[in-house]
């Protein structure tokens, strides 16, 4: 702990803050930098307004629950905050700046300082800002309705915020570790893609079984809800809400136990984060270059062998397809959707419109070609420009390959 606030560490924090500030100022020298900043300000403004609206809504909800003595329903407000905090980083990943702190490892930076900087950067994430605004709304609502609970509410919500911050950073640290290697990246990519595909299948499955739903007895529904409540009560949002509810009822020991449980979750997330960052700090390398060197000597059988420039481009397209999980997914997913949506034989809405919707979905992949079929080539496109062949010779197999693949 002492090394985290030593004179040297404080000097490093100041240097880092100044460096970030200078980088921001320098980026404003270019038109692109100005546009990027404007886009970022707009994005943050939009999300802040969204957060403010949610925070006000949650605040009113919390005020109502606290005023009516229905604090047992508090988890209904806290669970959405958890989902918001954990899922927002995925949604905003494309425009949020990613800071790679591993560049600091060559400097005499202690592990404590490294960990602290990692967490501080997390504080400025959009997810943390949104989550913080929502929790501030809940805090305001609860404290306005029951001011004597201010200490308990503050403790529970701060612990919940700390848990969320540690959990997000922990998930991202481990995702970074998995995404750093091609094999794990592909496995993770396929898991995500099948999850997305699975989510798309939920709707037809729901409609198919909607008849059974009405037959579900009231007692079975109540039993299911009780089970869900028991499970959620031992999870962080349930523990945070439970601590406040129990404190309001005068059960301080139970409230403390709930806070302890929440602290344990935060500690577990922090420990997993520490484990990952410690490995990074000690110089774990996830680079694949050496493996690639080793594997480069393995000669594969000639699966594709075409002559001429058209054949060369087709061969390249096929190799790209074979090595890309995303492309394979976009090749297979429409067919699966066609199969699923085209199965209905009755007169229902889903059966009548399933096939046309599936066909439209299948054609969706082609729309990308309208814009820029060569966009994915990256710097390799220069080779096409340098090749002593007409550009249509390149475009023909490129477009054909992609259309056939669709």
């Amino acid at each position: 702990m002492a090394v985290m606030i030593s004179v040297a560490a404080r000097g490093q924090y100041a240097a880092l803050a100044e460096m970030r500030w200078r980088m921001l100022l320098n980026s404003l020298r270019t038109r692109r930098g100005n546009f990027e900043l404007a886009a970022r300000i707009l994005g943050i403004g939009f999300f802040s307004l969204l957060g403010l609206a949610m925070g006000i809504g949650l605040g009113f909800g919390a005020f109502e629950f606290a005023s009516d003595g229905k604090l047992q329903f508090l988890p209904f407000l806290i669970w959405p905050v958890l989902f918001l905090w954990q899922l927002t980083p995925v949604m905003v990943a494309s425009f949020q700046e990613h800071v790679d702190l591993s560049v600091l490892l060559r400097f005499p930076v202690s592990f404590g300082s490294y960990l602290l900087q990692y967490l501080v950067y997390g504080l400025f994430d959009i997810s943390s800002i949104l989550g913080g605004i929502c929790l501030a709304g809940i805090w305001t609502g609860l404290v306005c309705a029951q001011p004597h609970l201010v200490a308990w509410v503050t403790l529970a919500l701060v612990a919940f915020a700390a848990f969320n911050l540690l959990l997000t950073r922990m998930i991202f640290a481990w995702l970074d570790r998995w995404l750093a290697q091609r094999r794990t990246r592909e496995i993770l990519g396929m898991v995500f893609l099948f999850l997305i595909l699975g989510a798309q299948l939920l709707n037809p499955v729901y409609y198919q079984h909607s008849g059974h739903r009405s037959r579900m007895t009231r007692s079975a529904t109540v039993h299911a809800l009780h089970t869900a409540d028991r499970v959620q009560s031992v999870l962080p949002p349930g523990l945070a809400g439970g601590a406040i509810h129990e404190a309001a009822g005068g059960y301080e020991i139970k409230a403390l136990a709930s806070l302890g449980g929440l602290a344990l979750y935060a500690l577990a997330a922090g420990a997993l984060l520490g484990l990952r960052l410690r490995a990074e700090y000690r110089g774990e390398s996830l680079g694949e270059a050496p493996q690639r060197v080793a594997k480069a000597e393995v000669t594969r059988g000639k699966a594709f062998d075409f002559a001429g420039p058209i054949g060369a481009v087709v061969e390249k397209e096929l190799r790209y397809l074979a090595r890309s999980g995303v492309l394979l997914y976009s090749l297979v997913a429409p067919l699966i959707m066609l199969f699923v949506l085209g199965r209905g034989g009755g007169a229902s809405f889903a059966a009548r419109y399933g096939l046309p919707v599936g066909v439209a979905y299948g054609f969706l992949g082609l729309t990308r070609l309208v814009y820029n079929s060569l966009g994915g080539e990256g710097p390799g496109i220069q080779l096409y420009f340098l090749s002593p062949i007409r550009f249509r010779t390149i475009l023909l197999p490129t477009m054909t390959g992609k259309v056939v693949a669709r």
């Binding site: 040297a8 200078r22 320098n26 020298r29 400097f107 005499p108 110089g283 050496p290 493996q291």
Partner: protein, 264 residues
């Protein structure tokens, strides 16, 4: 006997089933200009990353200035300077901003950092473009800046990974002058380079790594004599470092590479 500036024993690094550095043992005396050579993919950069604490060895031991990485890691990092493989520059800063940042990260006070920044920029002939961002620098300018950043805190041991790559003759001369000056003032320099003329001119000792294993280690004279004996030539015939290198890694022996007869 002086404590070696750098010493390794059985240093090994594996990536899955590939061994990048295999049981490497050597020592570098204080004040030595040490050349670490090897073909592409031989394990030079991996070794430098391990020696600078950026990569954890799979097994083996290493000491810098008699200290092991671990409990002394912070103190060691203050004593060493490094120009890493990718240079690790921050593109959206100017050269002086970058050097000031690096100086402060190494714990130098503002006055010292500012003074050394000015001196280094002048010495490296980078002072005449104060507003230019690092990302807009040429490759050679970036190399000079990376070297300036590696020495701003006055390291006792300097690790240079291909410092002369992409650098023009004028800049190479500047770098050479600076490095020789450091050696005269007692610093130790560990250098990897593919430009064997530079290594031959600067380094007193050389080690050669090939496919992860250390295949030669000694002073230039020792290596020269060893190769001359293996070739059966008289010792007074002076072999160049290139000839020594090619013989040691086995590329100089046997059939010459087949010519590409279709090239006009």
């Amino acid at each position: 006997m002086d404590t070696p500036a750098i010493s390794t024993r059985g240093l090994t690094r594996r990536f899955s089933d590939f061994t990048a550095v295999d049981d490497v043992t050597f020592g570098v005396a204080p004040g030595q200009f040490f050349g670490f050579l090897g073909p592409n993919g031989a394990g030079k950069s991996t070794t430098i990353k391990m020696l600078t604490g950026l990569l954890e060895p799979t097994s083996g031991q290493m000491e810098i200035l008699g200290e092991k990485f671990g409990s002394s890691a912070l103190e060691l990092k203050r004593q060493i300077g490094v120009v890493p493989e990718g240079m690790a520059l921050l593109g959206r800063l100017t050269a002086s901003e970058y050097l000031r940042f690096v100086g402060r990260m190494y714990g130098l006070d503002r006055a010292t950092t500012n003074r050394r920044t000015e001196e280094l920029l002048d010495f490296m002939q980078l002072a005449n473009e104060p507003k230019k961002l690092v990302t807009d620098f040429s490759h050679g300018m970036q190399k000079k800046l990376a070297l300036a950043a590696a020495v701003i805190h006055g390291p006792k041991v300097l690790f240079l990974d291909e410092p002369s790559e992409g650098v023009d003759a004028i800049a190479a001369g500047t770098l050479t002058t600076m490095l020789q000056g450091m050696i005269h003032r007692g610093a130790t320099i560990f250098l990897t380079s593919h430009v064997l003329e530079i290594v031959e001119r600067l380094c007193s000792h050389v080690a050669i790594i090939h496919k992860g294993r250390l295949v030669a280690n000694g002073s230039l004279e020792e290596l020269r004599a060893g190769v001359a004996i293996s070739l059966g030539e008289s010792s007074n015939q002076k072999l160049t470092l290139e000839e020594i290198f090619l013989n040691v890694i086995g590329a100089g022996a046997g059939e010459p590479a087949q010519e590409l007869s279709w090239l006009s």
